[in-house]
Amino acid sequence: MRRLGALAWALWFGYAFLYAPIVLLIVYSFNENRLVTVWSGFSTKWYGELLHNEALIDAALVSLQVAAASATLATVLGTIAGLALSRFGRFRGRTLFGGMISAPLVMPEVITGLSLLLLFVAMEQVIGWPDGRGMTTITIAHTTFTMAYVAVIVQSRLSGMDGSLEEAAMDLGARPGKVFFVITLPLIAPAIVAGWLLAFTLSLDDVVIASFVSGPGSTTLPMAVFSSVRLGVSPQINALATIIVLVVATGIFIASLLVARRERQRKRDEQMALQAG
């Protein structure tokens, strides 16, 4: 019990460490003072200014579009990749494929960004596409690196899942394609959703890669924020941060409510099964 006390301290310290900056951002977003860290009064004027900041709003729209598109594309590709790695056994080129899937998870972003830009430039020279850099190139870049995360999530879910369900379906007469859509897909649906959300978040958050592969008129929100904060603190960014935190927290709260409800339902079902005998 004494040791548990020390552990609990470590845990709470860790949480404080993780959340203190976020809490501070929220608090300072209501600081009237432009010198963000010197409190002079409560005010919501920065939120007002933020909503009129056209540059930031345009950037936000670009980011959202790119994130939605790349997340969807990454989810499709990543799910197929996860399926292949988990269920296709040893196929030719599997080692290389597995390597290409896990490398983006740890690859420094400057390398990914630079290499993709050089690719786009070379491609434009040789085949004339992509025509300049912009939202398309950012989408392609984001899809490439987020797809690895989706693949890992799907693969891990599939590996934990009994392969006998798919075998049973085949045994009952379903062809492999049918098995995937009717049996496998519904069962990994939560993993796919999680993957999409993760890819969306990663895309929305990326500044380095986007900086390399974007073009005129396709500034993403992180890029705009980055150039703004390079010069120091900025109260509008605090307001933006608060909004993001609130949206995310709400989303997670709703998600955990849904999960908790499903758990309660499941427990009730199991009770019912035990009573029926």
């Binding site: 369900l165 045994d171 062809r175 049996i183």
Partner: protein, 382 residues
């Protein structure tokens, strides 16, 4: 354990030389890299049989079953089902259905939908599907649970759904992978009888994989004992138990006493084996066609042994061992006696408790005579 009553006019197709096997496994070998899981196995299974593949882990029985189902392809050899060569045919095109060890019920579908799944793949009209599913659920007594999901069912109920799902397509061959493994003892017994009844009423050929000898002996019409990828012996439960063809099979099924000895006499009507281990001559009342002087083993089942504190009337000294009772295990219906012979060998005797005395007639450290009849011994050359 009571044997389920079989109809006296039961066919024994394997005895009929004109019968055509329903399932022919012809010299099938399966390799995984360097590891040989199934080694040159040839087996014939006849229509309407309840056939068991019995063996420990690593014996290859599950691999063989999966090859019948189509989840693995043989490295060598061929498999015929109802005369059709199954090489290259995927599982979804075979007239075979399997009941999985983990049941593999689709968690996102109801009981009804699970059972209907196979019929849907065949494209049957909805009305017919509904009728057949209802009929099948009645047969396994789950009609009231049709709308439930698998996680709302108990283990026994899930097993019945799995059974219904695999039977509803009326396959030519039903494969069962350790069907009773996940059930508790009482449920296991009941389910054994149910499975046999279902098999007899539907007439479908069953092939069961199990490591549990009791299961195999109770349910199967014939058993194939497998060892390290090969078949040690194929036969009815009685044949396997009373006429094992090797020491492996004798020791695998039930308990057995093994005596080593040298063949002294071999005539058409008897075999005499000198055994130092048993401390006596072993006499068996039929010929064994073994060369004189060769080393053999004689297997005698514990229930064929008799114990007595007085010397037997037969003065020949054959099939007679003397020893001291070292251990007694009281099981209620029988008692198992471990008798240590003068030679150091330990003999196991199973004696039914025919009286209701609380004190045993023969007890620890008693000196006893162990005897058995001339028909009891089995000569094993392997």
């Amino acid at each position: 354990m009571a044997q389920p009553i079989r109809k006296p006019t039961r066919l024994e197709p394997w005895q009929d030389p004109a019968a055509v096997p329903y399932v022919r496994i012809e010299r099938v070998t399966k390799r995984f890299g360097d590891f040989v899981a199934v080694d040159d196995v040839t087996l014939n299974i006849y229509r309407g049989e309840f056939f068991a593949l019995l063996g420990g882990s690593g014996s290859g029985k599950t691999t063989l079953l999966r090859m019948l189902a189509g989840f693995e392809q043989p490295s060598e050899g061929r498999i015929f089902i109802d005369g059709v060569d199954m090489s290259g045919i995927p599982p979804y095109e075979r007239p075979v259905n399997m009941m999985f060890q983990s049941y593999a019920l689709f968690p996102h579908m109801s009981v009804e939908q699970n059972v209907a799944f196979g019929l849907k793949q065949d494209g049957l009209p909805k009305a017919e599907i509904r009728a057949r599913v209802a009929e099948m659920l009645e047969m396994v007594q789950l009609g009231a649970f049709a709308k439930r999901r698998p996680h709302q069912l108990s283990g026994g109920q899930r097993q019945r759904v799995a059974l219904a799902r695999s039977l509803v397509k009326r396959p030519k061959l039903l494969l069962l992978d350790e069907p009773l493994g996940a059930l508790d003892k009482r449920l296991r017994e009941r389910t054994q009888f149910e499975l046999v009844n279902i098999q007899e009423s539907t007439g479908i050929t069953f092939v069961v994989v199990t490591h549990d000898q009791e299961e195999a002996m109770t349910m199967a019409s014939r058993i194939a004992v497998m060892n390290q990828g090969t078949i040690a012996q194929v036969g009815t439960p009685t044949e396997i138990y009373e006429y094992p063809n090797s020491a492996f099979v004798a020791q695998f099924i039930g308990s057995v006493n093994m005596f080593e000895g040298i063949v002294a006499e071999d005539e058409p009507d008897h075999v005499l084996i000198r055994s130092e281990q048993a401390g006596c001559d072993l006499y068996i009342n039929h010929g064994a066609a073994v060369p004189l002087g060769s080393a053999v083993r004689v297997a005698v089942r514990p229930e064929k042994m008799a114990l007595s504190k007085e010397p037997p009337q037969d003065a020949t000294g054959r099939n007679l061992a003397r020893g001291v009772v070292r251990e007694i295990a009281y099981l209620g219906d029988v008692s198992i006696y471990l008798v240590e012979l003068a030679t150091g060998a330990v003999v196991r005797a199973t004696i039914p408790n025919v009286t209701r005395r609380t004190d045993l007639p023969i007890t620890w450290d008693d000196e006893v005579y162990v005897t058995w009849r001339p028909f009891a011994g089995v000569v094993l050359t392997q």
